[in-house]
Amino acid sequence: MGKKRERIKPNVFKRLIFAFKDGSYATRLSFLVMGFGQIARGQLAKGFSYFLFQVLFALYMIFFGGRYVGHLFSGNLGSRLSGERWNESLQIFEKVSGDNSFLILLYGVVSLVLFCVFLTVWAMNVFGSYENDARLERGQELSTFRADLRSLINEKFYIPLLLPPFLGLLVFTVMPLIFMVLIAFTNYDYAHMPPGKLFDWVGFKNFQAMFSLADGAGFALVFLRVLVWTFVWAFFATFTNYFLGLVIAMLIHKKGIKLKALWRTLFVVAIAVPQFVTLLLMQKILDGDGILNKILSTNILWLADQRYFSLLPRTMIILVNIWIGVPYTLLMCSGILLNVPTDYYEAARIDGASAPQIFFKITLPYMMHITAPYLITQFVGNINNFNVIWLLTGGGPVDNVYYGGGSQAQSTDLLVTWLYRLTTDQNPKYNVASVIGIVIFVISAALSLITFNRASATKSEDAFQ
């Protein structure tokens, strides 16, 4: 019991077991009554605050939270429907509210998260008591409450600094995330909308509907088509912008071109107009009765022609995206090009390399090496590029043949625009939208992790030849 613990701590559960086995009776009692270990040793203020926390939490669970957590696990999200009751004095029907499934789920999630917070504080209490044991063993004095507070301002200042952001993250990011993910396992849609109606757990039914054919009831094919287009779009959007930006940057950068700043400014002026405005204008220009058709004296439906899997709208979207994205890549490539070490070029010229050779063997590899993380983040970002698609085609021409089946997906939809339509339609389907949201999350997380690994693997800068 007196041996020194190693610097590298084993995981939390092992430490808890260790504390129980090895600790004094005060520590063991702290497992049940929080703060006991501290009070027994004279750390009254600290111990009492732990105890108060435990009492408050128990009261919360008994009177409020426990019920909702029970609902979460019982397989039932409310059972009382609302109704009407005639109010004689006011001469109108009054609503009698029943269970509200949405609030039940929400409070259940909140209670669960609070329970996790409670567990953390409880573990802190136990370890604190165990730490007291260790100190007493070594013959050290136990820290007073005042000394603890002072250390929070001095060497442990990171705790009060990080606590508010952490709590904010918990409340505004983690909790809503858990809530949204849980919606995917319910049947929360327009036919089951609280407060008038109830919704319930349905397990994996939504996932089955999304990923299987189920004799025509599932829409796996639609999902695959949307997924393929999402990736195709992200690929083309990223790489067309990148290569065109690079080419224009190189053209401007060439020796012998005068007024370099002027050319660069002209090409960058396109971002002076906000992206939103440009897209709405483009939509009007490319309309069937728009300016482009008037100029060309045609009536091609640039953004509504659904033949060949909406090939024309898809091409137009990629082209319009070039107008919006090239100024940014142009600026970036200009900056990087100016920094290419000139000795590579001189050596190449001495060796008699031709211009294309110089481009493919020196410039391009260098640029790709520097901008590889940028390209991957742009790719992941373009997977969720909502504005361009939504403002140009609104998801695109409706195609009953390939995108039918009650999925509400349309032919230039990305996963994220499909999700949006499912939530803002006249008959929203929040559960299906949640499933799509989970899919987007999985894809983005996987790609981001790959980027992370790449970035940490290529640490050195001149290891690219």
Partner: protein, 278 residues
């Protein structure tokens, strides 16, 4: 509480079209040209379904006790439906027929004279009246030709959706009685007439309609005529609109190349309409 009708009918330019012309779609188109078109929003299910309803085709929706749709039956794709779709396609192909119309295009078209007749609702009445001035005229929807060129050729009346705009009170509102009083006030008889005088919205109240100002109005006459050939907008499947939009769009796109796979598109459209997700 209802306060005005919600249906659509024909607006036309009196100086180009006569009353006999506007009785039939072919009559209208005979006076039109590529620069003076007839606009009909074919990519909008609310309008394009008029062709099907004209022949008595429709849909059946069964609801469960939660008022969710459990099954939808749509017979737009039987033999008659195919013939109707064929007629629609032949009109869309016509260069005098502007199928990709919407409210803003119709207004702009009346303004610069490129549209001489259009099908839309009462809400555009003031705009169109401003543009057409004394040439403003309205009538019920025309008839279209079915089985053209065959022995069974017949004229079928376009049957519009008919509904009404109403004002409702939120059941959960805190001031429910006050809100209901306001709704009653807004939709009262005198206010419906005032509404008619200022914005041209034809009243639904029977006695308000009997008022001579309303009786003399050309739009009110058109609406009253059209309501005799209309289908009440009730129990409409929620899945009706988007597939019809897709069908209309496919026709409009097909008009460019001249080819339209009628059977596949119609089947896919009806399959999408009949798809319930419960």
């Amino acid at each position: 509480m209802p306060y005005t009708d919600n249906t659509f009918f024909l607006y036309y330019n009196k100086s180009v079209l006569t009353e006999t012309d506007v009785a039939s779609l072919d009559g209208i188109l005979s006076k039109c040209s590529a620069g003076k078109q007839f606009a009909y929003p074919m990519a909008d299910g609310w309008y394009s379904s008029a062709f099907y309803f004209g022949k008595g085709l429709g849909f059946e929706v069964t609801y469960n006790d939660h008022l969710a749709e459990t099954s939808i039956d749509c017979d737009f794709d039987n033999a008659t439906g195919e013939a109707v779709t064929q007629a629609m396609w032949s009109y869309v192909k016509d260069s005098r027929f502007k199928a990709d119309a919407n409210d803003s295009k119709i207004a702009a078209g009346f303004n610069d004279g490129s549209i001489v007749a259009a099908v839309t609702g009462i809400w555009n009445r003031t705009t169109i009246q401003n543009y057409l001035g004394e040439n403003f005229a309205a009538a019920k929807l025309p008839t279209y030709t079915l089985y053209k060129g065959t022995a069974d050729e017949e004229q079928t009346q376009l049957v519009s959706f008919a509904g009404y705009k109403l004002m409702g009170v939120n059941n959960y509102s805190k001031n429910k009685t006050d809100a209901m009083d306001f709704a009653e006030f807004y939709c009262s008889r005198e206010n419906q007439i005032k509404h008619f005088e200022s914005r041209g919205f034809v009243p639904t109240d029977v006695e308000a309609r009997a008022d001579e100002r309303v009786q003399a109005d050309v739009c009110a006459k058109a609406i009253t005529e059209q309501l005799k050939h209309s289908k009440t907008q009730k129990s409409v499947p929620s899945t009706l609109w988007i597939p019809l939009e897709g069908l209309g769009n496919a026709m409009i796109t097909g008009a460019q190349s001249g080819s339209f796979d009628l059977k596949t598109q119609l089947k896919a459209c009806v399959a999408a309409i009949e798809k319930t997700t419960n």
